[in-house]
Subunit: 251 residues, 2 copies
């Protein structure tokens, strides 16, 4: 039987999830969508996500793919079909048929994360689950003097968790910048891929050295120390959003 | 003993509350703050709120007052003292000593509510608890042709719940307008006071007649029917925020 490969765009509120990846204990996004797919298919369906977001991390643009033997549902109708089964904290934003060899994780060219901060005032209760709240106002100019050093092919060991088991700690950073959006301060970073907890370690380190009044050359020394002990405290998960996963144009 | 009258500014995420007012069943904001005040005072403390928000309604600017016999806490320190006890979905934004005759409810000159809408796209999961989500894009111009009719001293019976027990259904509307803010559509209304569920009934009626393509004169006829059966469906609670309570300048 010919199976179609379906690519889905996913958003979720990570607050009440133990992250993306299926595990023995705790509710995960992969498991919830997997259960919904199984209800539609009457058999288990393997779901491949582009990025394994951690416990508490949100997504507005996660991508995943699965193979379906259902011929009666047009590809784009998988979005409403899944949404009618899924809990409200996961939404399938769109679904489309893709090439049979498409792999959400291995084919991803880059991932973009945003880290959202409320600075200089208390977070309002409806903002608290989606922003880091800081009492002080960091200098966006100073922060961006640091972020300019995060560019290109880099050994990211400084920002690697001691438990990170990646074979290589080199990653290619396309862009990293702070900007003010509406009422919040946003850090946006795009790279080919990220180490475990890398974005949160970068955010924590940027804010830590900004508060210390470090010079860009001092921040560069931290980056080039390849020593996680020199990183700042890892920023909490609830400010982080997986915003976008980018793929090469279809052949 | 001389008791000081403390005025507090309160924000809350109404999602997991059965509204402001203390009741037998269910968690309420008044009860949570009352419990925190009792912990500080070692005896029950009466808390008077400016507006009794309904189940699921949020606040960024609720006001309340209470009398305290504690002389050791400077008035403004009641905010951090209470926040250290309160759950994260209630925050005391500020506290100050006010005149001994100040009454948060009776002295309020006006209340301002906002109703927040995501229109023309699905709400993202992190937006879902704080916005009404509509598939279509209503016309802001047409909506504001209606809102201009909501002004001044008015018999608001059209927007009164059948269960409303107010002696008078006249209210003075200072301002009512739709505007686009960032990525959402906001309805803001200020009046001396509101009937039970009045803002949500107004929002539902405005959207209902806008979708029907009604003319302003037809909307005026609905308002002047004083007949709740002509109102549109009451909009859900989770889009509504009590933004501000206004008081006369201190004598």
């Amino acid at each position: 039987m010919i199976e179609r490969n379906i690519k889905i765009l996913i958003a979720y509120d990570g607050t009440n999830f133990c992250g993306w990846q299926k595990q023995d204990k705790g509710r995960t996004i992969q498991e919830c969508i997997g259960t919904a797919l199984e209800k539609l298919h009457k058999h288990p369906v393997r779901l491949t996500g582009a990025g394994r977001t951690d416990s508490g991390v949100h997504a507005n643009g996660q991508v995943a793919n699965f193979y379906t033997d259902i011929q009666t549902i047009p590809p784009e109708r998988f979005a409403p079909a899944l949404n009618s089964i899924l809990p409200q904290d996961i939404r399938i934003l769109s679904a489309e048929e893709t090439t049979s060899d498409f792999h959400a994780r291995f084919d991803a060219r880059s991932r973009t994360y945003q880290y959202r901060i409320i600075a200089g005032r208390p977070a309002l209760p409806h903002e608290r689950l989606y922003h880091l709240c800081m009492r002080r106002h960091p200098s966006v100019v100073r922060l961006n003097a640091f972020t300019r050093l995060l560019h290109g092919e880099m050994d990211c060991s400084t920002f690697a968790s001691p438990k990170d088991q990646s074979e290589s700690r080199y990653r290619y950073i396309h862009n990293a910048v702070f900007f003010v959006q509406n009422d919040s301060l946003v850090f946006e970073i795009t790279a080919n891929a990220f180490l475990w907890k890398m974005v949160r370690s970068i955010v924590g380190t940027l804010l830590f050295y900004e508060e210390k009044g470090a010079l860009p050359v001092e921040f560069a020394a931290v980056v080039n120390s390849f020593d996680h002990a020199k990183a700042g405290p890892t920023a909490p998960a609830h400010g982080l959003f997986l915003q976008k996963v980018d793929y090469p144009p279809k052949k």
